[in-house]
């Protein structure tokens, strides 16, 4: 099981849940599983092509998946997946 942290803007599709535990071997499987549980979830963070939208950041154990293997990043039991909107800085 991996833990997925769900940000406020996505809780309208996750039935209000802020955290879910799901089985998944890769990030891609993780998103498919989220879509199966919460229809419409994937469309909110991915383009029609399946790629993650450029203003959505996904982290596995705190590391940006663009520094890992993107959607092919392997997941191990206990891993933590965080989805957050890309934010301006200062």
């Amino acid at each position: 099981m991996v833990t997925v942290r769900i940000p406020t803007p996505l809780r309208t599709v996750s039935g209000g849940q802020s955290e879910v535990k799901i089985p998944a071997g890769t990030l891609r499987q993780c998103l498919e599983e989220l879509e199966a549980r919460f229809p419409g979830f994937k469309a909110r963070i991915c383009e029609d092509s399946g790629n993650v939208r450029r203003f959505v950041n996904i982290f596995v154990n705190g590391e940006d998946i663009r520094f890992l293997s993107g959607l092919d990043t392997p997941l191990n039991p206990g891993d933590e997946v965080t989805i957050i909107p890309s934010m301006a800085g200062g």
Binding site: R54, I84, A88, G90
Partner: protein
């Protein structure tokens, strides 16, 4: 009642009321404030603005604050200086420096924070907070003190000592985090979900970012109500860059300046240059980097507005440049020695970029070029201190002075 009308998703166009939200719930895209431009065209005149206060609030009609009280440290309306000496060195006859290092907390961040703090009061928040590379934290802490709000500021633990003192003095709770700015920002985005705080650059971001438009407004007003031919602007998250351009475009939209294409040039440090890297590939895709540069205020490896910066660059015929840390230090000294302005490392990045562009023929000699200096040199003294020579002390006698400096006097005079 102000002229702001809605929040609109920059990606899919979905509109929302003007409340404390920051992300489109349809597509996760960033939200931006829209205005009733027709009403503004009828009401807004150059005279109305010129009669306003000598601060960013003279552009209040073009900011999303309504008629309520504002948190006012007198940010903005900073000097626009014609840089004759630096211009001569670079072959530019109409070079200007927008000196935003002289804001109340010594950086341009007082502009967005003035707007965000005012909105925090309006929305009824009791705590102001931010993720910061240093300058923003000082500004948030000062505005929170002024407004009587609690304050938490989150920073990477390795910031310059001067910046840390500058933010700690206002009584805010400092949270140094072992990690990069991008990691601090991620932490704060998660915290914003848990605590009901006003994170100025997260849940108040659409309002916060609007404050930086006033840099564009001021430059146009100070040039005699005309837009420049080219702007050189430092890029960290890219919000400032896009808002300077938006400010200039809005003035044209409401009829206060003639429309013109302003070439937008992005200044980055090579050690944290994801936008410069993308431009070198002539791409719109920003690939995040792990920053390694002395220009810590620009050390954002994953710039949220990087895509929009690149779009503006390609649309206006500008460019993006990544300069080395040595060039940054040389840039700080060049501006100080030619124009008497001491800027922090981000300003060194801007001047080094300006120099590279000028030497590469980016500007015609008579074009109006504005370089944006966004922070004060006293904040990052470490960057230049080691390269400056302070002579040993002498006895208070004429003989001691002549002995120590007599031989060097002709050389000193010749430098001028």
């Amino acid at each position: 009642m102000g002229f702001a009308r809605s929040l609109r998703c920059r990606e899919c166009g979905t509109e929302y009321p003007l409340d404390a939200r920051y992300v489109c719930t349809e597509c996760f895209g960033p939200l931006e404030v829209t205005y009733d431009l027709d009403a503004l065209r009828r009401v807004l005149t150059r005279d109305r603005i010129e009669r306003g206060p000598h601060s960013l609030w003279r552009y209040r009609d073009l900011l999303p604050v309504g008629d309520g009280p504002t948190v006012d440290l007198h940010a903005g309306f900073t000097p626009l200086i014609k840089a004759e000496n630096l211009g001569r060195k670079l072959g530019l006859r109409n070079l200007y420096i927008k000196n935003d290092a002289v804001n109340p907390t010594y950086s341009f961040k007082d502009r967005p924070v003035a707007v965000a703090a005012s909105k925090a009061l309006e929305f009824g928040f009791d705590t102001l907070a931010c993720a910061s590379t240093g300058n923003l934290a000082a500004s948030v802490a000062a505005h929170a003190a002024r407004a009587g709000l609690n304050c938490f500021v989150f920073i990477p633990a390795d910031l310059e000592a001067g910046k840390v003192v500058n933010m700690a003095v206002y009584g805010a709770t400092l949270v140094p985090v072992r990690g990069s700015y991008d990691q601090v920002n991620r932490l704060c985005t998660e915290l914003a979900d848990r605590h009901g705080w006003a994170f100025v650059n997260i849940n108040l971001r659409p309002y916060y970012a609007e404050g930086s438009k006033t840099l564009g407004f001021e430059v146009a007003e100070q040039l005699g109500w005309r837009a420049p031919d080219a702007c050189v602007v430092p890029v960290a998250s890219g919000a400032l860059f896009t808002k300077v351009a938006k400010g200039l475009q809005e003035l044209a939209s409401v009829g206060l300046v003639e429309p013109r294409t302003v070439r937008m040039y992005a200044a980055q440090a090579a050690g944290s240059g994801p936008v410069a890297d993308a431009f070198a590939r002539r791409s719109l895709e920003v690939r995040p980097v792990k920053p390694n540069t002395i220009a810590k205020s620009l050390a954002i490896g994953d710039p949220a507005d990087g895509y929009y910066v690149l779009k503006l660059i390609y649309e206006t015929g500008g460019a993006a440049v990544g300069v080395s840390d040595d060039e940054v230090v040389a840039g700080i000294k060049l501006l100080a020695e030619t124009e008497g302005i001491f800027t922090e490392t981000a300003g060194g990045v801007t001047i080094a970029t300006l120099k590279r562009l000028a030497e590469g023929g980016a500007f015609r000699p008579d074009e109006v070029v504005v370089a944006f200096i966004t922070g004060n040199g006293l904040k990052t003294q470490e960057a230049v201190a080691g390269t400056l020579t302070v002579p040993d002390a002498i006895e208070p006698t004429v003989a001691a002075f002549e002995a120590a400096f007599g031989r060097t006097l002709p050389a000193v005079s010749a430098r001028r």
